[in-house]
Symmetry: C2
Subunit: 148 residues, 2 copies
Amino acid sequence: MSNPFFAKLEHAAAGDSVALAAALDALAFDDHGLIPAIAQQHDTGEIVMFAWMNRAALDETLATGRVCYFSRARGKLWRKGEESGNAQRLRELRIDCDGDVLLLSVEQTGPACHTGHHGCFYLRVDGDRLTVVDAPERDPNDMYPSRA
Amino acid sequence: MSNPFFAKLEHAAAGDSVALAAALDALAFDDHGLIPAIAQQHDTGEIVMFAWMNRAALDETLATGRVCYFSRARGKLWRKGEESGNAQRLRELRIDCDGDVLLLSVEQTGPACHTGHHGCFYLRVDGDRLTVVDAPERDPNDMYPSRA
């Protein structure tokens, strides 16, 4: 998994920087051209969702400040909130040590989850049970009228 | 991507629960038998790392309370901290809406990143630059004596 571009940055001093364009070209997209993207609400620290980006989704996100993923189910760019209105504004983007994961600090409008839950991680392990932590805050039928 | 087991939980009330064993059997591991796992420090909310688990790693993590991943590079179970001492204790495990991502709330001992950085996401996009946000807090050569 070693990535020469990112390995060179392992011992860099705090505050050192490199050209973003070169770093983006060195990102380790997987065999499907995708990279994992974790979305964290900027002020509460909640992980609101996890999805995937291809290079085009990442470029668009950086260019517009509005988060765009790649939908594996639909096989195309997925401008978060394009139908539901539940958009994400990018506050900060980070890249991990190996250049193969993205961490997005976002400002989420409405629920992040397609189920209407505020975030996607509403199922918690409690001993030998899996508990639903909270209920949807919005009706998915209102979020996706074309699918209702 | 729809997963019938998890789809049934989308409209459940807060506090409802199901048997964990059935939920684990319904998890959507990928073609390599892996599922993404996000590790978040329980008190600060920092995302300290991102890795993968197979079913055996997940079962061991739940049984022992000590986080175990699957190393794709080494092709085997990876008991976090087994060599470096930088272990992770599991505080809480969550599963996402589709049953295909895990979120671990952890208590991290020492740096989480193999580079010696506290967390893996120390590279931040600043305009057209990628900036190193902080320096390693531990020397990797001391963390992995067998590789030095």
